[in-house]
Symmetry: C2
DNA sequence: TGTTAGCACTCTTATTCCTTGATTGCCAAA
DNA sequence: TTTGGCAATCAAGGAATAAGAGTGCTAACA
């Protein structure tokens, strides 16, 4: 009974019901459906249909006389049917594009920047987690001595700069830093961050012979880079932005219910698990699909930010199950680098092409 | 009548009343005072006293029969009397000290770091604004060419590094960057960030002659540094952390009232004015003293973060008027660099000295 | 003159009861 | 299969009531 195929009419009713609830946040009644998409049917008929959908687990009643509300299964059905043909929301896309001008060239700042942009564009709290940074390829390494006795290591990768400080020794001559930088660049060029330390170690003796005066520098470098990688892979690399936007949703007008969720958001460790899962495209975790108890009532939308085909960061948008799936899918598609649309929006010259393509897509429907 | 001197008994009653209200968040009644600090007086007597304090404007009644609550004037009295002898809260101090290990050497990240630390330690939303960065003195300048065609300018100051990227030209030889860096350092050493651009301009021709091959580099440098200073002085340099902690206070259990304030916090431009004011030590703006309408019901505590005697950043802690003034004053004193305690906590060897000093202070009372 | 006991008064808060209105479920007829 | 009709259900809101906490005032007391 549960899994029997829905009739086209039931399908339409269910999709409209969920859509209406997402927009209005008030329970779906037979007459709402009638006005929205079934003017030629009576409310009694629709009541029968709603009753059937309830029996199948797509809807549920909060009170005997209070209309119905989608279940997680109902949302899931809606999302799956929508994802087959995501209606890209032009407004959201151009808003993101306007905001997304990567002012920073530091990889670590990127996490904040993406989170801010997505949160602003979607109006939902957004969590971004740096991951897969080990897959970045190294282009150039510079060690820059500072006057404080420290030095800065800058690693230029194919997506931004990673930097860390290291303790040094005032007696080290400038030339040693330059030698070491050049040797490191030669050795590590085009290898991944993951292999970085291994490669330094295996070439350490060879490199040390070539460094003028202070050959112990590579030990310090290894120490600093180890701590850098620790820092990047642990905790510090996850940020939430726009947490307060959760309060815009009527389901969280009660501060107590909001607080539980905000608690999790302010310490996003628990979401890591959800964001860590690999998923090529935009995906949704709805209600019970989320393995965190405090977030059962929510939906987490997720996508990966890609550079050269590798996932560099995971982006999660968090909201009530009754969230604006279309808008969010649009936003995530953008950042996940959906080829055509990203490029089209990036180069204004191609804007017209893009419109043509969009029209083609429409006609294809 | 209003400004007449308070009797010692009235003073005690008022201070205890405010303190109790800060802790309990429920209106002060005659019997509460009796239990707290006047076991030998009857409630009727205390009612007379409370009545008098109300007439003087220190307290007010919300309802005829609901106990009394401090007015802004009442809080002001409490704070002024407390600030004369700030009871440093050891727990808060050691917590801040544990958190405050300035991992970053970038000036701009410092703003975030301080805000996080203070907010965590005090449990109130904290806003930090970078200011007076122009007074930092320059120690060293490095231009670092990147493979992307950009270059990074690093300015080492007496308090951290400021950096910005600049567009360059792939044809520029390495040596030009080194020459330019050295010349800039020679020219700008020990001058302030404020004078930086002026000094570059006045030495530009002279420096240009000394740079191998590509002498136009200083025009690019000037352009980049101008935009850097713009960035630092405009908007971007103010951050709020721990906004959600506002919800911990019962006065904001109603989400509507909380929202107004959170709105301001999420876009802290309006607080700039408050934070901009110079104030040597820890200061408080209570209620109507705040020139922002949405924040009338609140208190903003403020202090400056000092480096070499100059105010580099302003720190504001925001909470209801009924906030924990002692804890907050402690925290701000720490960051504002109250000599003894800062150093004492920094060097564990001196911990014993500090205890002795604390005892001396006690005996002085 | 300052302090206290006593008592009436005020006002909030919680509880209860009632009404209203929206919505459903079901049944019988089309 | 659809529909009209009708009773049943329940949330939301309002009015009335009761309970409780605290004050103000007055008169007596030290």
């Amino acid at each position: 009974m549960e899994d029997m195929q829905l009739s086209e009419r039931k399908r339409q009713i269910l999709l409209n019901a969920v859509e209406d609830y997402i927009q209005q946040a008030s329970p779906i009644t037979s007459s709402v459906i009638q006005h929205k998409c079934a003017k030629n049917l009576s409310t009694a008929t629709l009541r029968n249909e709603l009753n059937a959908l309830e029996a199948m687990g797509y809807l549920k009643q909060l009170h005997t006389s209070g209309g119905r509300v989608p279940t997680s299964k109902g949302y899931r059905f809606y999302v799956d049917s929508m994802m087959a043909d995501i209606p890209l929301d032009k407004n959201v896309l151009s808003e993101i594009h306007a905001l997304f001008n990567r002012r920073t060239i530091y990889l670590e700042d990127m996490v904040n920047e993406i989170a801010s942009v997505i949160s602003k564009a979607t109006n939902y709290p957004t969590v971004v987690m740096l991951k897969g940074f080990e897959k970045l390829t190294i282009r150039n390494i510079k060690i820059i001595p500072l006057l404080t006795g420290q030095a800065l290591i800058l690693i230029e990768t194919n997506s931004g700069i990673i930097s860390n400080s290291m303790e040094t020794d005032a007696s080290i001559p400038q030339q040693s830093y330059i030698d070491a930088s050049n040797l490191l660049t030669q050795t590590l060029k085009d290898c991944t961050v993951a292999d970085m330390i291994k490669n330094i170690k295996s070439h350490k003796d060879e490199m040390s012979r070539k460094v003028e005066e202070f050959s112990g520098i590579f030990d310090i470098v290894i120490k600093s880079l180890t701590s850098l990688i620790d820092k990047l892979s642990q905790g510090d690399n996850i940020t939430a932005k726009g947490e307060l936007k959760l309060l815009n949703n009527p389901e969280y007008s009660d501060p107590e219910s909001a607080k539980k969720v905000l608690e999790v958001l302010s310490n996003p460790e628990e979401i890591k698990e959800v964001l860590s899962e690999d998923s090529a495209d935009v995906s949704f975790k709805i209600g019970a699909e989320i393995p965190v108890e405090e977030l059962q009532g929510l939906t987490i939308a997720k996508a990966d930010y890609q550079v050269d085909g590798e996932s560099i960061a995971s982006i999660g948008i968090i909201g009530p199950q009754r969230m604006d799936y279309a808008k969010i899918a649009s936003a995530l598609k953008f950042v996940a680098g959906e080829g055509i649309n990203l490029k089209a929006l990036t180069h204004k010259k191609e804007a017209k092409n893009e419109q043509k393509q969009a029209q083609k897509q429409k006609t294809r429907k």
